[in-house]
């Protein structure tokens, strides 16, 4: 039993991929139409926004923090980007502005959490409110519509006839980030901080700076998702991105990124995001109402987090007992010569 638990904790991504295949195959058995190549492609293309959000937030979660403001960040950056393009700005200028806004929101989150020592959930929840409110102020509560066709067409560009441009770019980003984290000297800083913050301080890792960087990256990825959102959907409402943070967090957790920090990879987060974004489609194919989508996401999130917490607690307790037992063994071995000698 213990072996099994260890095995699962060590190969979290594998577990996620297997879960994805089981889920897709299961749906395919009930309704073979689900496994049609076109449908699978739709699932993958539809997951791009969630994948980007999940990668971004995985940085923050890996350091042991959380960011619930990414849904609002996506909404604001999508609105700004769409408005600028509608009003004739170049794609480059609009994208750069959006990414900058994302970075600034991340910076504010990071400073609040590290310098003002506000718990991440509270800080980002507050920022979430502020940013969501500023969307309404910025758009005056109206939809941003009538985007140029050229901008909306980016979402339809395909390579080799079937690979969507956004999907390709996203997968390349995932691979790039994965390799950086795996190979670069500083790649493991995020995980180190989430794993053992005191230990990270002791070996000279700039803990606060790295945590702020994680929030900034998270904001930038949310902004990137916002740009793609505007292009794919073609219009932006003031509620755009509402609730996406739960899906992104659930995607990370499902992909093996531990909410306690230190564990997980962007590859896992990507597969988690694919599963999460496919749930509504799966529900349709299983002839359930897709209104269940959020409910199921929430339930999955809770189940996985509870299971994860139980495993972590079990491992921690085991380590503590081993430590105390080692102390005991020491005495047993030494009893004859030391304690015995004293009594003579």
């Amino acid at each position: 039993m213990n072996k099994l638990i260890e095995r699962i904790t060590q190969t979290r991504e594998v577990f996620t991929v297997v879960f994805m295949f089981v889920l897709f195959l299961g749906t395919g058995i009930v309704n073979p139409g689900f496994l049609a190549p076109d449908n699978i492609l739709l699932c993958l293309n539809g997951s791009v926004i969630y994948i980007l959000l999940a990668i971004g937030i995985s940085f923050v979660i890996t350091t042991g923090d959380i960011d619930v403001s990414i849904g609002a960040t996506l909404g604001l950056t999508a609105a700004v980007c769409a408005t600028m393009i509608r009003d004739g700005s170049s794609l480059l200028a609009a994208s750069a502005t959006a990414l900058l806004i994302g970075a600034i929101i991340g910076l504010i989150n990071g400073l609040g959490v590290t310098k003002l020592r506000i718990p991440a959930i509270i800080m980002t929840l507050g920022v979430n409110g502020v940013v969501r409110g500023s969307i309404y102020v910025y758009t005056e509560g109206k939809w941003v519509e009538n985007l140029p066709a050229a901008f909306k067409r980016y979402g339809q560009i395909t390579l080799a006839g079937f690979v969507n441009l956004f999907l390709l770019v996203t997968v390349l980003i995932v691979i790039g980030v994965y390799l950086y984290i795996k190979k670069a000297n500083k790649g493991k800083y995020l995980a180190a901080i989430g794993d053992n913050m005191c230990g990270a301080t002791l070996i000279g890792i700039p803990v606060d700076r790295t945590r702020i960087l994680a929030f900034i990256l998270c904001g930038i990825f949310a902004a990137f998702a916002g740009i793609i959102f505007a292009s794919k959907i073609g219009f932006v409402t003031p509620t755009a991105g509402n609730g996406y943070e739960m899906k992104a967090i659930a995607a990370c957790v499902l992909g093996g990124v531990s909410l306690t920090g230190g564990v997980g990879s962007v590859i896992g987060a990507m597969f988690g995001a694919i599963i999460m974004s496919s749930i509504s489609r799966i529900l349709v194919f299983l002839q359930f109402s897709s209104n269940w989508d959020n409910t199921i996401t929430g339930i999955l999130l809770i189940i996985i987090v509870v299971a994860d917490a139980l495993i972590q607690k079990h491992l921690k307790e085991k380590a503590r007992r081993e430590r105390l037992a080692a102390r005991d063994l020491f005495v047993a071995e030494k009893t004859c010569e030391e304690v015995g000698g004293v009594f003579q």
Partner: protein, 507 residues
Amino acid sequence: MGSNKKDEVKIPAISIKRISKSFASNVVLREINLHVFEGDVVALIGGNGAGKSTLMKILMGIYQPDAGEIFMSGKRVSLSSPSAALAQGIYLVPQEPMLFPNMTVEENIVLGFKEKRSQLHERLKALIENLGWDLKLDRKAESLSIAEQQLVEILRGLLRNSRILILDEPTSALTFHEIESLFRIVTDLHKNGISIFYITHRLTEVFDIATRVVILRDGQITMEGAVEEFNQEMLIQGLLPANYESAVKKERECTDVECSGVKPLLDIKNFSGYGFSDINLEVYPGEILGMAGVVGSGRTEFAVTVFGKDIVKSGKVFLGGEDITGKKCSCIIEKGLNYVPEDRHLNGIYSISDVEANITSGVLGNLNKFFVDRKKVNELTDQYINNFRIKVTGRDQAIGSLSGGNQQKVVLGKTLAANPKVVILDEPTRGIDAGARGDVYRIINELRAQGVAILLISSDIEEVVELSDRVVTMYQGRINHTFKGESITVDNLMAASFGVYKKEVTA
């Protein structure tokens, strides 16, 4: 080791000059001066709160000193952060290894370096080979034993070319064989000219590996010198309180409760759990049984296990003849045993509630029919505020705003409001001022007079001597000695707590 005569010729590897440090009004270090040369193994000894860890944390750049300077190889250095200390070649191996459990051994060691991974890998392999250690680099850190984790910590320090290693109680969680290999490593490092600070509670180890001894007490160095100049008695002397005279043992009426035919209220038989083994003790009504021992000797683990908060491995606990082994806390409290925890901030108080709510929180169940009986609550609160001389502005003052001593009195009040027959007090006067300490002692003595059986756990040996009728000392998870009457002296208890007590030959 003939390299010790160098004081005039060589420049110390590290010089600590007039370092002082206070936390709020609490002075932890007073003008510490210390010089350590290449290859020195300095055993740093001192009781709890003597300032060892604070001094080491200053060297590591975790704390900043209030005054004083640090020189390395003659040059003044500023250790403003851990990374600055690392850059100066100082590395602290903490008592609990600070590894990243989810990373491999290699990742743990090379994290934080600027060199190329491949270069680091080669250097690391060469280093391990050089040391002759057997350590697989691709293992996950969480699968390592504590000893192996310590090896990883030491490797981290060595790979950084650290010249000064600080080992904080490295043997406290090791088995006998692991300690042997650790000693071999320390000897190797010593031969390679690396200076080592070795913090320990085990005095026997000092003579095994140290070349110099430094004893800290109340933030000052009380003794210092080459290890050859010391013996165990001298170490104990250096640890004893400042104005302590050997013969001050207060007179007390003979309360030989053991022989009077009274049954013990708390009777513990062959009790084993995580962190302690084979504990046998009895506490009689109207008796204070002291339990002395250094931090990490298993006292608190023992107490919380008796109190039902951890798993019992074997043995029995009888409360007034009734078996309460392995019962739940709430049930044990109801049967008349209560525990005042070591860390009141963590476990003892509801810090944002008022004094009244805190005192009565343990007995709400008895005070109510359905609604809380205000009158009784007020009476009870006033009774404790007056009896314990708790300094408050009113029953409704928030407990967080009280001083440490008054907080502790409230915690005691809460415990005693439940009218326990047996009380376990874990470090009841830690961090409180002298006046409040006197009050707490008075409360404890009153309880004793009322016939409550008290188990007093404390690392403050003077406190144990002053209050206890009998004393057991705990050493590495076991009771190693029992003291009665005149044999309860600070000397004896100190020696026994450090595991070096030798029974005097009684003439």
